[in-house]
Symmetry: none
Subunit: 225 residues, 2 copies
């Protein structure tokens, strides 16, 4: 069943939403503010976020933007009446729906249902994830890479490694982390294996090898945008 993250600084709101959501059969996790939500999303996968706009530490919009940098999770915003400008703005940055406070939990649940259903069918087959960095195009769903418009042919490990790096762009990744995520938790080989594959990947990327940065004493990072 779907896992929902509820982000609000008022414990009463969290509790009410949690109760209704759990009654509907969803798993629920709570966060007190945007900062906590971002951190939780970094380490976990949620299917939907219900988030207040006004919160201490990090507001709902900023948190939404931050989370969407790395993950594509639908968001329902809880906002006070009369924040129309924010509404227009919010749809732009990837908010899926708004519920105005004070809200009816029933209506909120109806909207949760709709948003989840919508994203289920969308994400199933045709969720395109395609990235462009200057002349480098990385089409993860199509498992294709173009260097200056020309298709690069790479080995499986090169694809897997590049896709993982791109998905986690601008995040430092240790060799251990890469081995665990790209090779699998059951791989107990040499650290240097990563180096070799980074080398081959760099060759495949030509001038765009520059996006793969060596973090001396640490690992690697895909640095772009």
């Amino acid at each position: 069943m779907a896992h929902i993250l509820i982000v609000d600084d008022e414990v009463n709101i969290r509790t009410v939403v949690r109760e209704y959501a759990e009654f509907e059969g969803y798993d629920v996790t709570e966060a007190e503010n945007g900062m906590e939500a971002v951190s939780l999303c970094h380490d976990n996968d949620y299917d939907l976020i219900i988030m207040d706009v006004m919160m201490p530490r990090l507001d709902g919009y900023s948190a939404c933007k931050e989370i969407h940098k790395t993950k594509n999770i639908p968001v329902i915003m809880l906002s006070a009446r009369g924040e129309e400008y924010d509404k227009l703005f919010g749809f732009e940055i990837g908010v899926d729906d708004y519920v105005v406070k004070p809200f009816s939990p029933k209506e909120l649940m109806a909207r949760v249902k709709v948003v989840l259903k919508r994203n289920k069918t969308a994400g199933d087959a045709n969720q395109m994830d395609r990235y462009t960095f200057e002349g480098l195009e990385v089409d993860i769903s199509g498992r294709e890479v173009y260097v200056d418009g020309k298709k690069a042919s790479m080995t499986p490990k090169e694809y897997d490694l590049l896709f993982y790096l791109v998905r986690n762009k601008n995040i430092a990744l240790s060799r251990d982390k890469l081995l665990e995520e790209v090779w699998g938790y059951d791989f107990f080989g040499d650290d240097r294996t990563v180096d070799t594959h980074i080398k081959m990947l760099r060759n495949s990327l030509g001038e765009y090898r520059k996006f793969i940065v060596t973090l001396r004493g640490m690992g690697y990072k895909f640095e772009a945008q």
Copy 2:
């Protein structure tokens, strides 16, 4: 550009919405009640319907149900405050969004934008059921395949496999994914079964076998256009 049908018995509302919609670049048609809307939808194709709930002759919900019997057009409902039961009910019968009267035209336009965008990506796949790739014709609804105009006779699994590949063309598909989607979740056989059927499918496709690409270490992909 998108064509919008506005259904409301109050001419002032229709006019305001029309002006904002046309400013955004949409084509607009008006209807006075549900009956008229149903009749218009019977003869024309609209991309979105904005419809009031309360109308003489035929109310919004009934009209929505009636229209959805034959066409899959997204609907935004205009409703008065405090119609919560209706909201829950509406999501069930295929209403995409609600806007509460009195509404801000700006907000309405923001929601129009979201709903259209959502349905653009979703509706794309559902309509087309016949594909042509050079001399290869794939008629999914007719369950027929033509190679250079000549009907190819294939086994059930070959059809199912090809249709799934074509429906998800340019998307990398793992053997597990194919087994799950084409064979069913209750198939617990060998991975290599896919290979064998790919082989037979390729033979059936003759020169157009080229569209089925092997993704080493991963699976297969139908690559075309």
